[in-house]
Symmetry: C2
Subunit: 521 residues, 2 copies
Amino acid sequence: MRRIDLTSAGFLLLEKRETPMHVGGVNLFTLPDGADEQEFLTALRTQLRDCRDFRKPFGDYVVTGKTGLYWEKDEHIDMDYHVRHSALPSPGRYRELFSLASRLHTTLLDRTRPLWEMHIIEGLQDRQFAVYSKIHHAAIDGVGAMHITQAMCTEEPSAPLGYAPYSQEAYEAYKQERFGGATSTAAPNKRDMRNVLEALKQQYDSGMNLATAMRRFGLAFVGRSGNLAVPWHNVPKTSINTRVSGARRFVAQTFAFERVKNICKSMDATVNDVVLAMCAGALRRYLLSRDELPRHSLKAMAPVSLREEGDVDSSNAVGFITADMATNIYDPEKRLRTIQQSMRAGKDLLRELSPAEAALFMQLTQLPALLTSVLGMGSKFPAFSTVVSNVPGPRKPLYWNGARLDGMYPASIVFDGFAMNITLVSYHDQLDFGIVACRRSMPQIQRIIDHLEDALVELELVAGVSGPGRRGSDSRKTTRAPAKAKTLTKAKTKAKTKAKTKPKAKPAARKTAVKPKLAKK
Amino acid sequence: MRRIDLTSAGFLLLEKRETPMHVGGVNLFTLPDGADEQEFLTALRTQLRDCRDFRKPFGDYVVTGKTGLYWEKDEHIDMDYHVRHSALPSPGRYRELFSLASRLHTTLLDRTRPLWEMHIIEGLQDRQFAVYSKIHHAAIDGVGAMHITQAMCTEEPSAPLGYAPYSQEAYEAYKQERFGGATSTAAPNKRDMRNVLEALKQQYDSGMNLATAMRRFGLAFVGRSGNLAVPWHNVPKTSINTRVSGARRFVAQTFAFERVKNICKSMDATVNDVVLAMCAGALRRYLLSRDELPRHSLKAMAPVSLREEGDVDSSNAVGFITADMATNIYDPEKRLRTIQQSMRAGKDLLRELSPAEAALFMQLTQLPALLTSVLGMGSKFPAFSTVVSNVPGPRKPLYWNGARLDGMYPASIVFDGFAMNITLVSYHDQLDFGIVACRRSMPQIQRIIDHLEDALVELELVAGVSGPGRRGSDSRKTTRAPAKAKTLTKAKTKAKTKAKTKPKAKPAARKTAVKPKLAKK
């Protein structure tokens, strides 16, 4: 039995039928040249199911003890339950994939078992297949999930069948390769501090920095601290900030990383600033189209990693900055600058703290916002408007048993008061967005994808740069049109069947084709 | 707003994450000759999604009022959510179908929406497709579900596209055709009585019959009432009577009705008696194989309909007889006779009561057993050992938009203390069994299917009759063998793909082929 730390336990204790607390996402792959789909996927399934030695806590289930929650080993783990094989109905477009992922992301994990599921999904067009995975937030955070995908893949296209992604072997090998086997040297007081009682005790020991931070935070609340945005302060109510139902919608999209980087260079902004500005522009458009743009700006909760380099062990090492999304500002450049200033102010605040202090600070200031939300008051007292989470991913193309990883689209959590979550991963030369929303509060979430493109084009215009593969300066008009953003326009309905019956008839030219994007304009 | 009656509300109030309270099942169809699978299934999906006028409560969701639970109309019903299109991975055997149905039956319905889902499932072999449906027990009982399948189908193979099965039109048309439009004339006191308070008040008015029944029930409890079996009395504990986890396994099988009828004739027993004896034989074998056959006999809860002919309206009109399963008796004939006597005693008791009194009696005597179970004490104080429910179904072959209904396999509820539920439907000339079990307590539920066949053969031997299509008197040995009971042995792995690419290449001989059975020996 191992004690579950407080932040992780919170995700378990506050989980409700309407607010499942799992994270995950869709990884998209292309079959290796010449591989038979059935043989290949069956081999993957067998590999995944044969795992017997799990990294923590993938072989454990939750038990309630006298003094809290504990992980205990599941001696009869039922791998057929955890590793599933699914299929898309014809014609097997991304639309069908998103529809399935939406359903899979809706249902609760079984609490009497290790808190994860993995679904191999066949039936996509163009020799692609997908893996949807679902892991309880008590077991992992976004960066941790990224480590798992990275650990299961390799940069070698022709590497042999590796370890199951959640195996102890994969974990050890990855840590060895990536960090030379140096385990995280977090001081015990950093980990233990996550217990609230100890945290409060610590409060008196952590000296001046924390006191300063608290004071700054308080000043921001009463409006006298420059650009620092704080939760609850002037957070408007919109249709995004409602109670949520149990059902989810999931959509995803890839954007070329270079387009964002070009804006960064030209505007002297960070990737995070530009990504937040994209989201802000998309949100502004969405709210305008529904005629509910509020007078006050939306605030976004932007999680930042408190994980130290080399720490691949912590389940949850994450803090939050409150970003002012400047949705009430018409001018896109001014909007970007406002966002940038609020992010700088938030980071300055965290930078003055040690990682341990930062973790404590988060608990004292921002976690209550999550609590309010989960306790069902989030829709009455929104602490933020939405969540925009930018997770750094692998910088080189990855392969899983020879199958190229075409994209990794995260799927995160929504709850009362935050009916939408935008999470993105930087992978190689692309930015992969995964958006999860409450199916009832935001029935037309796919529009956000179009709005994101519009907002990116707008920023490119402001920055005086032009995105690769776009048609020129009139693109702002043309990108508005395609309602079929999620369908592969070049794909024929029969492509799936053909690929199945004649896997070798397709030319190997595929690998040199343009990188797969979920929306091809 | 319409008040939800007490029994129905019970299913809502007592539902837990580990014990979802929905019923449903898998309907298996064969595509009409010459129909293109994609076109046909797309048309079905459209028909189902286009429904706007629902029979009650299929357009309603549950709201909590001051004095109980109510149905309220969902003004923004999201039909894409309720009507889903799924697919099986290759090779598309029944194994893959059961695997998908097990998962779909595991997850909770969304309480903020009308409490049903319907899944069109493609990817089966031999031009079959399936529909899995899932309806909250608060909205329907087994007989009601049967009425819905019957209302959506017709005996005419070439009838045009009909109404959606849960539409008000289908409901009206069905009632008109079946019962000449005569609505149920249940006295108001019968319905209202389901409220516990009123039921208790009624108790003093319902006179002698009920008092007699209660006395007989009491005598049985202390062992002085002949063959009447009662809940809790000497109910042994087995691995079936444990706490359940949230995950389910579903398996199904068709048996020829004639085989059971032949035994009935020869042994002077009812269909229900013989079916219970089949289940008892299967349970005895299962427990023997696990070396845990208890000294006392298992008791089965056998639901009986309290629905009056012509009543297609009541959500829940169901009572229960406690059947002595005689699992401790070696001799199959004696076992059948013991079961028969306990069923007769139970029916005698109910027969003396008016339907209203019977409903009341059930509430006072048997519903507490359900309560114990749902409150989590079922595994400590099992009231019954299992549930065996025999639902009379349509007597002629049915078609849905021209697709032949090949089988209807019910999927019901398990909860703490009852880790397995056997429900069967008599359809035309077959008995379709659907078995649901807790995935953790009964990991090898597919064995029950084999044991059922063995028990049937045993009864045939005792009765001196021989089942049609079987190989003779040595079948008792041969039926033991096939571990692949759930796979179509004649089907090739590539059949699915072929059927997809060349739907018209298949000969029309299919219709004259033998009736599809889930296990072909």
